[in-house]
């Protein structure tokens, strides 16, 4: 579920809540919205929503992604999928836990820059990814084996999504 191969496909629109409208959050929101999914994106800065562009047809909610009222407003109560990608590890972790424990969203993913915290919360059952670990691994592969292997490592990451628990 959730894979879209092109316009014209019959697809069930996925209701997704994204917290953090930075580069990652806004790119994801734009793409998913264009593909017909039901997107709500949350950020504490109104200016951040400028990244979404004119074509974005989802909902932009101004406020904190750890605030249950804001999450409610974004439709977390009916969401199928939740992704937190703010710049704060703790905000991401807390909002992901609220999404899972309070709103019972079935698919929850969060970004954690700190590798140690990422390991802890992955062990606790959150689906996490750590750009630090992924980036260092690709750079290390480049260092050891050159660009071709590094490309392969990058594609492997892109294909498998990210490291993480259930």
């Amino acid at each position: 579920m959730g894979f879209v191969s092109g316009i014209g496909d019959i697809l069930a629109a996925v209701k997704v809540v994204i917290v953090g409208c930075g580069r990652v959050g806004s790119t994801l929101a734009r793409d998913l919205s264009r593909e017909g999914h039901d997107v709500a994106i949350i950020d504490i800065s109104r200016r951040a929503f400028e990244r979404l562009g004119e074509a974005f047809s989802g909902k932009a909610v101004l406020g904190s992604g750890i605030d249950q009222e804001i999450l409610e407003e974004a439709g977390a109560g009916e969401a199928d999928c939740f992704i937190s990608v703010t710049n704060g590890d703790n905000r991401n972790i807390m909002s992901a836990q609220v999404a899972r424990e309070i709103f019972k969203i079935p698919r929850v993913m969060t970004r954690i820059y700190d590798p140690i915290r990422e390991r802890v919360y992955r062990e606790m059952g959150l689906y996490t990814f750590c750009p630090t670990v992924v980036g260092a691994a690709i750079a290390r592969t480049f260092f050891d084996s050159g660009p071709a292997e590094a490309d392969r490592a990058r594609h492997a990451v892109a294909a498998s999504g990210a490291s993480g628990g259930a």
Binding site: Q68, N90, S95, V98, E101, R117
Partner: protein, 228 residues
């Protein structure tokens, strides 16, 4: 006194963290105060003296490990950010097996969430203050209300039976009290049987979701007391 004083790690050296640490030090506890901002940390260190004040991130695991957290009896995370307090407590509990974690909760709605996510004690200053104010407002005359916190409306209400109202009746015969969960009737400090006819000054303690001011104990004129 135990063999060694309890070791408390306080995270966040704002006003709450500072006064908490000072209070604990005066009480003979061993205290480490952790603060991210080096300027604030050195200021506080100068004021607290004997307290080990540490500059560092309270939710940075590598740093926590240097604070002797594994032998801490209590971690109290009292920064102004709920997410930092929550994660500090979770890490303390999970990674360092700290027996008791206490978090300051800035948004009252998070109290229940923090409990659900494994924090032992979640304290909301907002809620405490609101509770005190409400109690103050509600304790006019013969009623006293103690809110039980959380997002629930539930509270303990103590109603004092006024002169001339509901006298000689049992609690079950006072319509005002009929649907409520009766916990206790107290007369002169002694617990009474719930079937005892009421006298002025008796104190009735209820578990209820109604505001204390609701309880007037009025009995309709025509209702006659049941003979017992």
């Amino acid at each position: 006194m135990p063999e060694r004083p309890a070791y408390v790690i306080v995270i966040g050296a704002g006003k709450v963290g500072f006064y908490l640490s000072r209070h604990l030090l005066e009480g003979g506890y061993e205290v480490a105060l952790i603060e991210k901002d080096p300027v604030r940390a050195s200021l506080v260190a100068a004021q607290l003296g004997s307290c080990a004040s540490l500059v560092g991130d309270g939710d940075e695991m590598a740093f926590l490990a240097t604070s002797g957290i594994e032998r801490a009896d209590v971690v109290a995370a009292v920064t102004g950010d709920d997410e930092d307090n929550l994660i500090a407590c979770q890490l303390a509990k999970r990674q360092f097996s700290v027996p008791r974690t206490i978090a300051r909760v800035n948004n009252p709605r998070n109290v229940q969430l923090f409990h659900q996510l494994g924090v032992d004690v979640a304290v909301s200053a907002t809620e405490l203050i609101l509770g005190v104010i409400e109690t103050g407002l509600a304790s006019h005359g013969d009623v006293l209300q103690i809110p039980l916190g959380g997002s629930s409306e539930a509270s303990l209400v103590r109603v004092t039976v006024p002169v001339g109202q509901a006298i000689g009746r049992t609690v079950g015969d006072v319509p005002d009290l009929a649907g409520e969960r009766l916990l206790l009737i107290v007369r002169n400090g002694q617990e009474l049987d719930p079937q005892t006819p009421l006298e002025p000054g008796d104190q009735i303690v209820l578990f209820t979701t109604r505001p204390a001011s609701d309880f007037t104990l009025e009995v309709p004129e025509l209702a006659s007391p049941r003979s017992s």
